[in-house]
Amino acid sequence: MIEVRDVRKTFTVRSGRLRRRRTMVRAVDGVSFTVREGEFVGYLGSNGAGKSTTIKMLTGILTPTSGSVRVAGLDPARRRTALARRIGVVFGQRTTLWWDLPLRDSLTLIRHLYRVDPVEHRRRLEELTELLDLGPFLGTPVRQLSLGQRMRGDLAAALLHAPPLLVLDEPTIGLDVVSKATVRGFLERLNAEHGTTILLTTHDLGDIERLCRRVMIIDRGRLAYDGDLERLRTSVAADRMLVVDLARPAPPVQLDGIGVERVDGPRQWLRVPRGMNAAAVVAALARRYEIADIALREPDIEEVVTRLYRTSGAFGAE
């Protein structure tokens, strides 16, 4: 569905008032990946890492400086219009809807834009209205919608022409917990029931954990990781955390190979390096201290990613 081969995009940035300096910025610097039909892939990166630039090259808005891109069998930069009919795009921070028009009218305009058969349109609109709960605000001008409602409207707008590929650029940005859950639930069903391939760009790691089996991480214009979410956790070797409640407050515990991260009264946070047997640590601890309670926490994705960024030299970022 998506084939990206050694793609680069450089921008020239001018700075200085009198003496104009021109610096080349490599927004995307040699990225390659493939996304197969039906996959749900998370595309992760910090601000300025090159996420949005990649998305804009995939949708044909930007032309790559070098390398090749194929999306749904087309070269996006050359066949932008044809491609737009085969993919759906949601830019979380922007809207495709018309500010002054009721949502329903925006969706009608989109029907004409993509030349969707009226009968098909009605059927899909009904389904999307139900799945995204658009009913209560179909007649409301877009400028009066809440952010969560607008995002649901934008999702409907991107899907009315039934594209086999949906590209999402930070669709949950700024949404509250309930709206996020609605959007995530919808995307999950779309992928599972309609087989829509989804590429999800975000820096909300909750989105990734809930939705994506595969994750790609971009850092400073290069792919720092591409693979299983689970394998990421282990390969980055993020430590597990043992949270121990001692019977009474004590100075930081002393165990070989174990660092104490934090002490708060009787509770202590112990960092258990990956590869060390947690059961053995607990046993050793129990021999020397009286323990009231104990919990072992797997590293969460945020920690994994932070660690990945910190050590991304190891992934060839520079």
Binding site: F11, N47, G48, S52, K56, T59, G60, I61, L62, T63, R80, T81, A82, A84, R85, V89, F91, Q93, R94, T95, T96, W98, D100, L101, D105, T108, L109, R111, H112, L113, Y114, R115, V116, D117, P118, E120, R124, H161, A162, P164, E193, H194, G195
Partner: protein, 276 residues
Amino acid sequence: MAWNAPRRRLASRGVSVYPWVAAYSFRRHAAYPLGAFAEAITNTVFGFVRAWIVLALWDARPGLGGYTAADAVAFCFITQAMIGPVQIFGGLELTQRIRSGEVAVDLHRPVDLQGWWLADDLGRAAGTLALRGVPPMAAGLWAFDLTLPGPAGWAAFAAAMLLAVVTGFALRYLVALTAFWLHDDRGMQAVSLIMSMFFSGMVLPLVVFPGALGEIARMLPWAALIQMPADVFLGRCSGAELWSVYAFQAFWAAVLLAAGRALTAAARRRLVIHGG
């Protein structure tokens, strides 16, 4: 699953989207009558100011530029009525969309960027015509003795107006696109405002410009926006002359639209979307 099945049928069905864009734009611009009314009042007041000035001028120099006093006053009011539809003061929403990065959405749509905005602008012009065009004209008719066209004259004028709107759009589209390169568009807007006010005939009819200045001014594209449709309105062009007016307008519309297309392609090649 059923979604993807009948997609082959989709591409061939349905009418073009452009008329719909124009229709919705018309609705949008007709949606705020109060704001338009305020602008119409302003246009009308300035019509009176200009009318009194030209009356004083034509009193001292009767027949100046081949206009009678009634022609000159009619010129003031018809051009005041054209301010809204032709949007002679410049500006296109596209400029703000480029500055904010919203243009990414426009560029993703499976349509031609220039065609989309032209359709939008035609809808806007039509929506503005009734709300901003009629009041100055009606007030002028009530207060002064004006030269007015007959039915055929109105039809000829309508065609010239349509060409003026398209030419005006082509110019404003070019100015808007410069926002891709110039991060502050105010300088460009100011220059284009001065040029279009002066060379369109909005400040003074181009017929009174003397010598070479007049010759040049009457050949520039801005003449197609105000002076030419106004001359058609005053019945100063008939037969072959009328067709040469249309040809002049169509020529500039085509040249400027083509330049807009070239600039759009160039912008696409070196595009930076603002705001991530």
